[in-house]
Symmetry: C2
Subunit: 206 residues, 2 copies
């Protein structure tokens, strides 16, 4: 069993799903492609953690609906109490922030502004989902949606905080422009943003 396996168990703990549905559901928790999910489901079924029922459909391809077994539920419950391993984040944006100072101010601002747009779009999209989730969990089906409700709120809070950070960075870049000296103008001409920032810090100290 690997983490994807536990992610599948946690999804099926709420409601039986097809592999196709799982791929969509897991995207917010532990993203995985269908090519990773289908073989994993087969393995877990062979280990008695899941069972499936074949559903014949007309107009749509047939599907397998997977449910969690008692053994699966036990396995999940035991794993949940163990302390989670450190999160893994890989974000190209961070590398670009780290090295944008080699290029000019225009590109630096664009990088940050594009990030803001991306984040705002995601937040807007997620806010809709949260509203839907809120409507769903004021009934007996609530327990099925409450975890997701918490998780979507978490992401939105953190994304909004990243937007604030982006704005702080933009301010720093623009302030360097504001206090522009002849030296800074020369540095801008030479595309030396690193030197401009140096100067900016110096000026902001005064």
């Amino acid at each position: 069993m690997n983490t994807l396996g536990y992610a599948i168990l946690s999804a099926l703990g709420r409601k039986p799903c097809s592999g196709y549905e799982l791929a969509q559901y897991l995207d917010a928790v532990w993203p995985a492609k269908h090519s990773q999910i289908y073989p994993r489901l087969t393995k877990m079924e062979q280990n008695g953690l899941l069972i499936f029922e074949e559903v014949i459909q007309t107009g749509k391809p047939d599907k397998k609906i997977f449910s969690i077994t008692d053994k699966g539920r036990e396995t999940l419950e035991k794993w949940v109490t163990e302390s989670p391993s450190d999160p893994i984040m890989r974000d190209e944006f961070l590398i670009k922030v780290n090295s944008i100072w080699l290029s000019d101010e225009e590109n630096a601002k664009k990088l940050i502004q594009d990030r803001i747009s991306d984040l705002e779009q995601k937040v807007a999209f997620r806010t809709d989902t949260i509203t839907e989730l809120e409507q769903k969990h004021r009934g007996d089906t609530m327990s099925k949606h409450f975890g997701r409700y918490l998780l979507f709120n978490r992401r939105n809070m953190m994304d909004k905080e990243e937007i604030s950070w982006c704005q702080w960075v933009l301010n720093l870049i623009e302030k360097s422009n504001f206090n522009m000296s002849k030296l800074t103008l020369w540095m801008l001409g030479a595309g030396k943003l690193n030197l401009i920032i140096q100067n900016m810090i110096f000026v902001s100290e005064i």
Copy 2:
């Protein structure tokens, strides 16, 4: 060239490093083990993106100090202007949050509280690094440290926001306890936190 390669270029763009140093430096931007870094350095050197100099040491193993070449700098600059691909986050904690409602309140609270401890520790550690970084960049070496300064602040802001979220979740759990009815007590006895939360939402509506 893959993303790790660009991460290496961005690190060497500031100062020449050994593979060993890179592994530590990259941890905050694009974590990688030495077993991934060393072969990559060799490949990049063969492609003319890097050059190295062997430094013979006494009392310590010899090392190779890698520097970025003009070709490397050009490659990096071109890549930086391209829009970054979506960040990838894999966090077991999220799966556990999603499925803790199968277990009891004690375990739910522990999961969140442990997360708070983890985050607080990381924030404290990072705050020290930020102070160091601030002292370093009020001189001519600033440009070497400013990107990291921004990135460490970003992580700290977001981690603090996650702590707030954790506290919000703890409040929700505790509020369900506060408004405890006989029904809730039974549910607690039966370890049905999902039902408690259902009830909690109902009560908070009043």
